[in-house]
């Protein structure tokens, strides 16, 4: 009987190994396979003792070869480990790491989103003679062991909403949050709210959740991971991966996506390698704080030792997070630092924080993320310039404080006082005048009207005010498309009967808008810079920060050079200061021609600096998204980290009383919309733009759902509550002005 069990166990081990190394025929695997086969064959013939010996030998061989295989694991093998149904899942962790737990917001299949599991758990600690239960909020994606309803850990928007809700509960209760990231990515549907909307909201809120957050990453796929991943301590399982996109997704983009052919396994594997997705890579780049070592070939539910390690690691991380903001540390800090986790005994400390500590915690979280990925872009500014910028920014904060807070407040009060006195004087004067005038009131004033009034009616008045865009009835910037003698067909001509439009009319006079149906043809980003934002070269800042190839992604340098030459841009993001109708503002323009308007470390840094600059100078901040394809996949985790980084920066800006306005044009998808763009309370779409989390093709590929062609259009986004309005391109300047005057921001310089 015992031998059968042992044989079964070995068969399972072999199956698992085969699953992991499936495609590439490995000599070791073949050997194991044949050895096991032989052993099974000879089982009935041989004596029990012989068999026992043979089995022991085989088991040793398995262990030896597993250890050997472990050493030569490729990134793609790790991806397969993480996705294997035998991989540990959140429920295993809840059972084995925590001492007691209650699942919240649903149970098993009966949940608003079974892919997101939330539980209030306890860690029981013995302190002296007492047992102390320390409650934590456990939040994480649940992949299950192959159950269909878990949706592979792909969380729907309402699942993320549930997570956010319980984070706030944890905040109210003052207990730490442990998040476990087991997701290949978020489920890319648009609903009420859409995937991008909810993730943006999660990241936005998590930046200011003032209880310690510890994240454990097993499978960290892009937006889905970030939705619960913004943490004070980020741990990573040694066989996990953390990346901007699944290797298959990257391969689909690398390969020719148009043909619809399946991309080859080799390409997927090479993408997995190039993306630097492993735990070691992420630790080296600083995106995770520690690696938790798993047993060979990955942790499976029966690896009880591993759960012990995991338990002490999360306790330690939580301790560290708390300790880092506590004022009184004494020896505990030293002890925690010195203590080896393998000991299995952790230092006990309370995880409740004082109000001051909570404030310091969010502050620390901000600076932690602010420091990340600062080496992943090229900073071509000279040393003097850098120094100057640093000095300048301090000067600005001092100046705006002096100007708007100190003097401004006084001046405003004085002005109001004077106005009051003037009004009083006027009252008295009128009263006096009416007393004197009473007698000759019957005398008609005469039929003659004043000369001024007559002139106004009959003569030429001063010229009408013109908007920022139009100068003598023509646009300041004319699209190069407007000088070609050709006609353009409106895509709606079949339904709306639009006539073909001549290029110079369409792109010159009509601003690229079909005059029959209002369809907005694609327009260059320069059109907006000059016609809406009064762009002037000298007022661009941080143009020296350039997109680079931080992962040395093969072939990407060439592509970058090419796009630099073609567009004349150094990154997809242009940040500048401008003055529109008497109001100064900081504008961030994300230009689609540069790598699809994708955001990498350089762009992220520029956006953060723009937000900081706007905050210092108390200026409104406008993000004009000419088009964005999301996070730049070739930068891997460097890119994905821009989601929390930029979101935290704009959040700080908004919290400081600024006005953050986002305007989408053409196509905006991906992690950018799901983070710093999607979190603005003032988002608008230009007509005929599309806004969403994943493009229609990606949705169909990942979920099998066929989406209608208008699924992402601006009207749908408006109906979903993602954007607040739809603007006509020709009236954008007017609308921006209106927004600056009416929306947000108690702390703008012109208020």
């Amino acid at each position: 009987m015992d031998t059968d069990k042992r044989l079964d166990a070995l068969t399972k081990r072999l199956d698992y190994i085969k699953d992991i190394f499936k495609s590439n025929e490995n000599a070791n695997v073949t050997m194991l396979s044949s050895e096991l086969g032989e052993c099974k064959q000879s089982r009935l013939k041989n004596h029990l003792q012989d068999l026992d010996r043979a089995l022991t030998r085989l088991e040793d061989l398995f262990s030896f070869l597993e250890a050997k295989l472990e050493k030569e694991l490729t990134p793609m093998d790790r991806v397969r480990i993480v996705r294997h149904p035998q991989r540990i899942c959140l429920n295993d962790i809840l059972e084995n790491v925590y001492d007691n737990y209650t699942e919240l917001g649903g149970l098993g299949e009966n949940s608003i989103d079974p892919a997101m599991v939330i539980a209030q758990a306890c860690i029981a600690r013995r302190v002296g003679n007492k047992v102390v239960n320390q409650p934590v909020m456990v939040i994480g994606q649940e992949k299950g062991h192959g159950q269909e309803f878990r949706n592979g850990g792909s969380v729907k928007p309402w699942g993320n909403a549930k997570a956010l809700h319980y984070m706030k509960v944890a905040q109210a209760e003052g207990i730490p949050i442990h998040t476990y990231i087991f997701t290949p990515g978020s489920y890319p549907i648009e609903d009420y709210p859409g995937a991008a909307q909810q993730i943006a909201k999660n990241i936005y809120e998590m930046g200011q959740i003032n209880v310690p957050i510890v994240a454990v990453i097993s499978e960290g796929g892009s937006g889905g991971a970030e939705a619960i991943g913004l943490a004070d301590r980020r741990l990573m399982l040694s066989h996990g991966y953390y990346s901007v996109i699944s290797p298959e997704g990257a391969a689909a983009i690398e390969g020719n996506p148009r043909t619809g052919n399946r991309v080859s396994e080799a390409l997927i594997a090479s993408c997995a390698k190039k993306l630097c997705i492993t735990a070691e890579d992420n630790l080296r780049m600083g995106y995770v704080d520690r690696i938790i070592h798993e047993p060979v070939l990955g942790a499976r539910p029966h690896n009880y030792d591993f759960f012990r390690v995991l338990r002490s690691e999360v306790i330690r991380a939580t301790n560290e997070a708390c300790l880092s903001v506590k004022r009184v540390k004494f020896f505990k800090a030293m002890a925690i630092r010195r203590k080896r986790t393998q000991d299995g005994k952790e230092i006990f400390m309370r995880w409740a924080l004082s109000n001051g500590a909570r404030k310091r915690l969010t502050e620390k979280r901000h600076s932690k993320f602010r420091e990340l990925s600062t080496s992943a872009y090229m900073d071509n500014r000279s040393l003097m310039l850098k120094l100057g910028t640093a000095l300048q920014s301090t000067a600005w904060s001092t100046k705006s404080w002096l100007l708007y807070d100190l003097i401004g407040r006084g001046a405003r009060a004085a002005k109001q006082g004077v106005e009051g006195i003037q009004a009083e004087v006027l009252q008295v004067k009128e009263k006096a005048c009416s007393l004197i005038k009473k007698d000759n009131d019957s005398d008609p004033v005469g039929n003659n009207i004043s000369r001024e009034a007559r002139d106004k009616i009959l003569c030429l008045s001063s010229p009408a005010q013109q908007g920022a865009c139009l100068e003598d009835g023509t646009w300041k910037y004319r699209s190069p498309q407007s000088i070609i003698d050709r006609t353009f067909s409106c895509p709606n001509s079949a339904e709306e009967g639009c006539l073909d439009l001549w290029g110079p009319d369409l792109f010159g006079d009509f601003g690229g808008v079909c005059i029959t149906c209002g369809h907005h043809f694609r327009m260059e980003y320069q059109w907006y810079l000059y016609n809406v934002f009064n762009y002037a070269d000298g007022f661009e800042f941080n143009s020296g920060i350039e997109a680079a190839n931080p992962l040395d992604y093969e072939g990407f340098d060439l592509k970058l050079d090419e796009v630099r030459k073609k567009t004349g841009l150094r990154s997809s993001c242009i940040t500048f200061e401008t003055r529109m109708d008497g109001i100064n503002a900081v504008v961030i323009c994300i230009a689609a021609p540069f790598r699809g308007g994708s955001i990498g470390a350089a762009e992220g840094e520029k956006i953060i600096r723009a937000a900081e600059r706007a905050q210092r100078k108390q200026l409104p901040l406008i993000a004009y998204v000419h088009g964005t394809a999301g996070i730049r996949i070739q930068e891997g985790t460097h890119g994905v980290l821009q989601m929390p980084r930029c979101t935290m920066a704009v959040r700080r800006y908004m919290d400081a009383g600024g006005l953050y306005l986002v305007v989408y044009d053409t196509n905006s998808y991906g992690g950018t919309v799901a983070s710093f763009l999607g979190c603005s309370p003032y988002q608008f779409g230009i007509r005929s733009s599309s806004i969403g989390f994943a493009g229609p093709r990606v949705i169909t590929e990942t979920t099998g759902i066929k989406v209608p062609p208008n699924y992402h259009n601006a009207w749908k986004a408006l109906a979903r509550g993602h954007i607040q309005g739809i603007w006509d391109r020709r009236e954008m300047s007017k609308n921006v002005q209106q927004s600056l005057l009416t929306m947000g921001g108690r702390n703008l310089y012109y208020r």
């Binding site: 039929n447 009034a453 009616i457 030429l460 008045s461 009408a464 003698d485 110079p504 009319d505 009236e731």
Partner: protein
């Protein structure tokens, strides 16, 4: 300028297409006509078939599809396009495309930037004011601010009171509107504010622009026009007198036009009619000079019952009623003038060759627009087949029509309903009236619609109105 042989593409239909084609023949130019399926029996198609030679007739799907017009122009090898009136005549974009496409053509009409400048009523008004040309009292730019608007309206009411009007009224218009949309009359100053808000909201909804214009309402005015002609240089301008187009249908469509604008010898006006006509011609000429107007055009004026002229707008095209001005004009004493021919000749770059001194204006002329409609039922159009159409030829009479006189003709429904223009010339008002009635009496126009009902026409209306022409 192009020195080879010209071919003119006539991008229009009906009688104006025939007149242009005829002018082309007189000037030794080849021409091409276009027509739509509904127009296949129209006179201009027949004229082109009979007189145009090869490449002179193309069937298109719509007269207002520029792309189709240009593909015809390229395939027939046209060098110039005459837009006629209506359709593309006042579309500066079309004119610009004609001139600026890769294979440029000549646009027979003013240059596109002039069409653009004068096509905008507000701009025209501002231009007029800057030259001291009288315009309707009121604002010359959109007003956005309510306080400003109320102040403006008050002073406009006061102004009318000062002028001695018994009932003063102002018009509130959406500046982006037109064709009677978003326009309202205010007679009570207290009502102004609510009307202003209504129009502003309407305008914002409808045109996405909140601008509102405020003007004096003028009752019982006469509608006068000045015919201006210039060569391409834009430096030499002449006029061919004035026209009075005050007899209009209830939808403000002209029915009878008379030249000259007033008959000061036959009718007594309470104001000095001659000096009003002089005033509007000289103002029109000075404006044409100022903008370097470079083809034919019409300055439209309204004259109040007290004889004050105000410039209304400029039509940068040949007009339907150009024939009445031509009928009373002669250059250096030589026969009749043809303004369509002049337009074509000057449009292609010829020198004008005469000055204002060489132009003499003699007698009077009137033009009837003969239309199948019921003047008693709000000028409702009649649709059916014309069985017989004919008139008595006279040497004082000219009839322009696309309706064939020798066969049946079904009136197409999608175009403007003019059947024919009849121009009657005479030496005195009395004679013109008499001849006009004589012509109308001799006019034969019969037809039947699908329900078997007899054709209805505005002949009785024209007869009735003939007795009051030029009276004010």
């Amino acid at each position: 300028m192009y020195s080879g042989e010209h071919r003119v593409l006539i991008a229009n239909r009906g009688e104006i297409a025939i007149r242009i084609a005829r002018a082309c023949i007189e000037l030794n130019l080849s021409f091409s006509c276009v027509y739509t399926e509904a127009d296949r029996h129209s006179g201009h198609v027949r004229f082109a078939r009979e007189n145009g030679g090869s490449k002179s007739l193309y069937c298109i799907s719509s007269y207002s599809d520029a792309n189709e017009i240009f593909s015809v122009a390229d395939s027939c090898g046209a060098t110039a396009i005459h837009p006629g009136y209506g359709f593309f005549a006042e579309d500066f974009r079309f004119a610009r495309r004609v001139a600026e496409r890769e294979k440029p053509l000549i646009f027979i009409g003013p240059s596109w930037w002039i069409i653009r400048e004068l096509g905008d009523k507000i701009n025209t008004k501002r231009l007029a004011r800057s030259l001291g040309v009288p315009t309707i009292p009121g604002s010359d730019k959109p007003i956005y601010n309510e306080l400003e608007a109320v102040e403006f309206a008050d002073s406009l009411f006061a102004f009318q009171k000062e002028q001695g009007f018994k009932a003063s009224a102002i018009m509130v218009k959406a500046s982006a509107g037109g064709g009677g949309m978003g326009i309202e009359e205010v007679t009570d100053p207290d009502e102004f504010r609510s009307v202003f808000r209504r129009i502003r909201n309407y305008s914002k909804r409808q045109f996405n622009d909140e601008g509102v214009l405020i003007e004096q309402r003028i009752y019982g005015f006469n509608h006068l026009e000045v015919q201006i002609v210039s060569e391409r240089s834009g430096q030499k301008h002449v006029h061919f007198g004035t026209r009075n187009c005050s007899i209009q249908s209830s939808g403000n469509q002209k029915r009878i036009e008379v030249a000259p604008g007033f008959a000061s010898e036959d009718i007594h006006y309470i104001f000095n009619a001659t000096s009003v006509l002089d005033c509007i011609t000289s103002h029109s000429l000075s404006m044409a000079q100022e903008v370097s107007y470079d083809n034919v055009g019409t300055w439209e004026w309204i004259v109040t019952p007290r004889g004050e002229p105000f410039l209304m707008e400029v039509n940068t095209r040949i007009q339907v009623e150009n024939g009445v001005s031509a009928a009373i004009s002669s250059i250096s004493g030589q026969g009749k003038v043809d303004i369509v021919r002049e337009q074509l000749r000057l449009g292609l770059g010829a020198d004008i060759g005469y000055s204002q001194h060489d132009i003499s204006l003699n007698g009077l002329a009137l033009e009837y627009r003969i239309i199948a409609e019921n003047p008693d039922r709000n000028f409702a159009p009649w649709v059916g087949t014309i069985e017989r159409f004919g008139w008595v030829a006279e040497d004082w009479l000219e009839v322009f029509t696309q309706v064939p006189t020798d066969c049946e003709y079904e009136i197409p429904t999608e175009f403007d309903p003019n059947l024919a223009l009849a121009i009657v010339h005479g030496d005195s008002l009395e004679q013109v009236r008499k001849r006009g009635i004589e012509f109308l009496d001799g006019l034969e126009l019969r037809g039947v619609d699908r329900a078997g009902l007899q054709l209805q026409s505005n002949i009785s209306y024209l007869k009735e109105k003939t007795s009051i022409i030029l009276e004010f």
